[in-house]
Symmetry: D2
Subunit: 308 residues, 4 copies
Amino acid sequence: MLGYFGPEGTFTHQALLALRPGESAQPYLSVPGVLEAVRHGQITAGLVPIENSVEGGVSATLDYLAGHSRLQIIDEVLLEVAFGLYVRPGTAIEAVRTVLTHPHAAAQVRGWLAEHLPDASVTEQGSTADAARRVADPESGFDAAICAAVAGELYGLEPLATQIADNRGAVTRFILVSRPVRPAPISGHDKTSLVIHLRADQPGGLIEALQQFAARGINLCRVESRPEKTKIGHYSFSIDAQGHVFERRMQAALAALHRTSRRLVFLGSYPSADGQTVKQTAGSRDEEFAASDRWLAGVLNPSRVRGA
Amino acid sequence: MLGYFGPEGTFTHQALLALRPGESAQPYLSVPGVLEAVRHGQITAGLVPIENSVEGGVSATLDYLAGHSRLQIIDEVLLEVAFGLYVRPGTAIEAVRTVLTHPHAAAQVRGWLAEHLPDASVTEQGSTADAARRVADPESGFDAAICAAVAGELYGLEPLATQIADNRGAVTRFILVSRPVRPAPISGHDKTSLVIHLRADQPGGLIEALQQFAARGINLCRVESRPEKTKIGHYSFSIDAQGHVFERRMQAALAALHRTSRRLVFLGSYPSADGQTVKQTAGSRDEEFAASDRWLAGVLNPSRVRGA
Amino acid sequence: MLGYFGPEGTFTHQALLALRPGESAQPYLSVPGVLEAVRHGQITAGLVPIENSVEGGVSATLDYLAGHSRLQIIDEVLLEVAFGLYVRPGTAIEAVRTVLTHPHAAAQVRGWLAEHLPDASVTEQGSTADAARRVADPESGFDAAICAAVAGELYGLEPLATQIADNRGAVTRFILVSRPVRPAPISGHDKTSLVIHLRADQPGGLIEALQQFAARGINLCRVESRPEKTKIGHYSFSIDAQGHVFERRMQAALAALHRTSRRLVFLGSYPSADGQTVKQTAGSRDEEFAASDRWLAGVLNPSRVRGA
Amino acid sequence: MLGYFGPEGTFTHQALLALRPGESAQPYLSVPGVLEAVRHGQITAGLVPIENSVEGGVSATLDYLAGHSRLQIIDEVLLEVAFGLYVRPGTAIEAVRTVLTHPHAAAQVRGWLAEHLPDASVTEQGSTADAARRVADPESGFDAAICAAVAGELYGLEPLATQIADNRGAVTRFILVSRPVRPAPISGHDKTSLVIHLRADQPGGLIEALQQFAARGINLCRVESRPEKTKIGHYSFSIDAQGHVFERRMQAALAALHRTSRRLVFLGSYPSADGQTVKQTAGSRDEEFAASDRWLAGVLNPSRVRGA
């Protein structure tokens, strides 16, 4: 059984159907609720949003991951935040006089409504999934819902228009979180996620931490600060690095960060949703690590390796 | 005329009264509303929250500052987020049966209420300032409001208890923003704020940017990432550095960042609210810059300086 | 009048003829002798060797430049160290039975002699220039000299073979040194030479010094350590950087080194003998420095630049 | 049997007697001669000078070590270069009319001679050890030798004055070199020596190499460049780092350099002659490496470590 940040019909629900089609899943009404259920073994994995291209990081997710152990990201999926105008089958656009949606969604489609339904009355209330549910009832008094595709389909509605957000292309990234497991094999386009809590006495600590990656030829794709909650001005850093923990260079970087930071939270290695191949620079490949191990063994025990 | 993120009686209002007592000010109902009024010259300066020790950065403020020019931080203030139980004069705690507040505040004082007013009925509605306004009316049906001190005072209420949040010590930092002006003189405990938009082709760009400060002996007190909103995975960085733009080392760091980043937004140099003296390392002092200027002039024109 | 590390007929003499043909010049019998004469104005400039591709840095030159002010490199030249077999006009190789040269040169042509003149008697004595002078005298008892081309020509000899060193391709770099002058204009393939004396309390001082170049997009072509002579384990660093002191990025790097090191000796900007064009990275060009100056002026005096 | 850069009576001989008193040893007349004998197993170890506080690195030693494998430094010793005036027993200073020494030594005591023996005739010839040998013969015609203490003692002479060099305090560092062996245990004040041959395509290669040490909290005590001999402008770097190859941090730094450089020559870990305790910074201790290993094992196999 999987879980997701619900209710049914939300974008997180839609993302889960895309990532794990056919698996049974139950909604939780908060991000901590999903992650708590994962930690306690009530669900095998849960999907939560972590980042939106317009809004930024999802604090509830970032803070829960930074503050709790026994959680690991095992997959991710990107989903374009796309609203549509959904109606009961048979309703024509000319017949739409009352529209129901959530205030946040209403704000994002204001331009489209002004152009295409200038005379419709728009009610902002509840959630977009709830709007779809109510519009499905002919007695509701509402002709159309502005909602995600998944919600429209869930309640038997049909789209009159899709992609109607004024600001196209907003994308949300969702992560699938489980209890700690051995990561999936290297795919060639992996990411490794972690949270670094620096030592209090490290003024240049962030630079030093980032250099642990640079010194091993590892690129970073995300660096996000979050308050430590104890005192203003203290931050932890949520980081996504390109590469997999099964690679020696990533192991070396993580071990170095473990030694030099106050606390390091490993959050998993998993295939990146963008499928971008990870580059390997000279000196950072596994075979070069193996060669340097052999060389070092020879240095430490010269007779065995170089001896007469 | 100043402005602030209102309505009257909020913590931002309280912070403004602490920072600029006696100045007339008007509330705006959104952060962008305050900053827009500053940009258009309708108010001389506006106070908005930028960071909370528990919740993190205030996205609305960070994003508006990152995306618009012609704004500059001229001061800051720290305020502990402290709720109190406010009543009409003469009401005793034994007489409090109905409490009005905002849901967010209610969540933060749940433990205190369970202990001290276990039988009171709590209504969560409107804003904490509005709760105070309504409680002031004996006909309201509410005996007490949970609100900020400023709201209680504003509506003639008296505190039965202060500092009643379960999680003490949460602090919010507010900034006073004006149109660009020549910064105030060096105080010895200054901060300089800026936003760096990196070039798209800079994988190690953040490290390089941070090193521009390190190379000049400048410590950072805040590094916060925000999405660029154009494409997921692209970030700008909001940074507070210790020191003043009137110092040569800060000028050199800013100029270097201007050259090497896609866009650099200067957001002001102003006294830090924590009053912590800024350290100067060897080689980063103004007199050392002046000495190196003279040395360089001698190198470029040897006859004048070292000549026979 | 120029000077060079002599006597006449040495490779330094040959290098001077290549670099400044037709100018009158006088030999000095030591490197300090040449440089002392420059400092005291007895000659306008002097040529000395600074580096050999096989032997490394020339200590006498490096140490004199590191320890004295009022000297500046204004040009450089590379010369292949090429020995030849020189005889009086008319002597055939079959007639060569006695060969005169310097021990150092003899060591470098041993293989050639074994192959081509296995029966000749080789006397190692004096200098190669002196060998040529003596061979020119038919009464000398020597049939051939192993010497530089310049020495052979100087004494009217003819080459029976050139490029006879066993280890081909050894190159010596010579520098032309004058009193401090305004450097020649940017050629596009310039080098800047300097000596850094680090502070005693700088364990990571060399890295920090090298990073001052890296942070400004400047490549280094030579880093050579020399003892400070005061105490074992203390070194100064002789550095050649790509670029010209008339470039803003080089000025910024030198000024930073001046501020952060114990002592910085500027040794000139001059065209590199290899003629390799210096690369400019983004953010390090003069026009970008000028743009960042203008930007900074606007930050410091906003009314003038962005005002009204 | 040990070897040293001789002849008998030189400072290297004196250094060997200090470092390995009572062991039989034979002189070789060149540095390569000593090291060649070590490589071929003709002697178990050989002592050669590597660095002088005034003259700098000893090229013959540095280049032989950089260019050959199968050699390892196992000890080092510092010796002050101290000349004395040695005479046959019974000779008073007033009776000294003729002095024999080597030109190099003569240059270093010129001031002392001018003051104390202004009328003596000084002959500069052979070696200082040879001067002592000849002075020991009453028929030699020489009253005194200027030589090292070891040479004076060797030939039965007595010192009339010691420490007579004009420039006091010059120190030479000598290294004892053997075939590769397992290094001696950690002493707490160890050095590790190595030679880095950078990849040809590494403009910032030296900085990156030095940062491999810095990133692991390792200080450097010597960085010396030597030409690669193939082409002018290509250098290898001879480096002494504080710490022992039995420490995890040093192993990590060496392995990283092995991966990222063209060739890395390990030259041994051995007690530093200055006896200075090596500092350990947070995150660089062996126990921290062990802890990070365990942490990483838990990340890779979560069930075993954190499971149930």
